[in-house]
């Protein structure tokens, strides 16, 4: 049961990030504006980040779904989500009202920022499960199998 749950979580996280990446890929200039609104990155990093992040999300998401290079992909998503959480929390603390552009562009609002924070925290939990337990078939080392034989 746990095995299937971990698998389902892994695939769901993967699908969410493929979706998010595709949305952002459609309008990189808008996503660059979203990144700039956080007022964290220096100017010269904003466009490269806007161009690199969507493919990163798509690649990691696809690898998670396929179960290939699962750990590296899941770790990538864990790092991404951690950065998003810190950025949104910092923006909230600084009194900024912005749209993170995480799953498409919307109207900036403080309420939505809190929802984004909660959503990303849940996704982070799922990504950590995908990293630690999302292997399929279930993670059993060859030594365990050999000693059981």
């Amino acid at each position: 049961m746990v095995k299937w749950l971990a698998l389902a979580i892994r695939i769901a996280i993967g699908a969410a990030f493929v979706y998010a990446g595709i949305i952002k890929l459609q309008d990189p200039s808008e996503f660059a504006i979203n990144i700039a609104s956080f007022q964290i990155l220096p100017n010269f990093l904003i466009s490269p980040m806007a161009l690199a992040l969507p493919p990163f999300e798509i690649i990691c998401g696809a690898l998670l779904i396929a179960g290939v290079w699962r750990r590296a992909a899941a770790l990538g998503i864990v790092v991404l989500l951690t950065v998003f959480l810190i950025a949104i929390a910092a923006a909230l603390a600084r009194g900024l009202t912005i749209d993170c552009g995480c799953f498409g562009t919307g109207t900036p609002s403080r309420a939505r920022m809190w929802l984004d924070l909660g959503r990303d925290a849940l996704l982070l939990g799922g990504a950590l499960i995908a990293y630690g337990y999302g292997g399929y078939p279930p993670v059993r080392s060859s030594r365990t199998l050999a000693s059981a034989a």
């Binding site: 890929l25 990189p28 200039s29 660059a32 504006i33 700039a36 100017n43 010269f44 904003i46 466009s47 490269p48 806007a50 161009l51 690199a52 992040l53 969507p54 493919p55 990163f56 798509i58 690649i59 990691c60 690898l63 290079w69 750990r71 590296a72 992909a73 770790l75 990538g76 790092v79 990293y131 630690g132």
Partner: protein
């Protein structure tokens, strides 16, 4: 989970990040509208585009109506007409036609952005632009830029500041 495994996963993640960066830059290269690698805010982009409008030589295919000194005097006295001074701010500050607002050719993008809220209300109102006079083309270039931006009643006084002051007409100092 061992440190070695974590290290291996981290290196894998870095590899994916490098791959994603290459993909992102390649995709941008082949987009119909690639984004600049140096970020410009929408306001900065607009300012750059506005500056482009006045960077070329005057467009002869874009004729602008001219007025005489007498017509210019009437326009200056008429509060329904907006008077724009296309000279650089340094010259504007030293002296300008009464009621004139500085929308310089030299700093058009910046000045237009600064005056934008007011200018947007004047799209269909009469505007007269002047500059130094004589061989100065700045008023024509600003007038053509405004016409390109949708302003419908833009004229120029080619005699400019020189013509106004030579006639002994009142001036204002900033």
């Amino acid at each position: 989970m061992s440190g070695a495994q974590l290290g291996k996963d981290f290196l894998g993640m870095i590899g994916l990040a490098i791959l994603a960066t290459i993909c992102g830059l390649a995709l941008n290269r082949f987009r119909p509208n690639p984004i600049s690698l140096v970020y410009q805010s929408p306001d900065q982009q607009l300012q750059a585009e506005l500056s482009q409008l006045v960077n070329g030589p005057p467009l002869d295919s874009f004729p602008v109506e001219t007025i005489s000194l007498d017509q210019f005097r009437v326009a200056v006295a008429d509060k329904g007409v907006t008077i724009l001074d296309a000279r650089a701010a340094t010259y504007f500050d030293r002296g300008h036609v009464p009621r004139a607002i500085n929308l310089s050719r030299q700093d058009f993008g910046h000045d237009y952005m600064r005056l934008r809220p007011m200018l947007e209300t004047l799209k269909n109102k009469p505007i007269v632009v002047y500059c130094a006079g004589g061989a100065c083309h700045d008023s024509k270039m600003v007038a053509q830029a405004l016409t390109a931006l949708g302003f419908t009643q833009v004229r120029i006084y080619p005699g400019g500041w020189d013509g106004w002051t030579a006639a002994g007409l009142p001036v204002v100092h900033s």
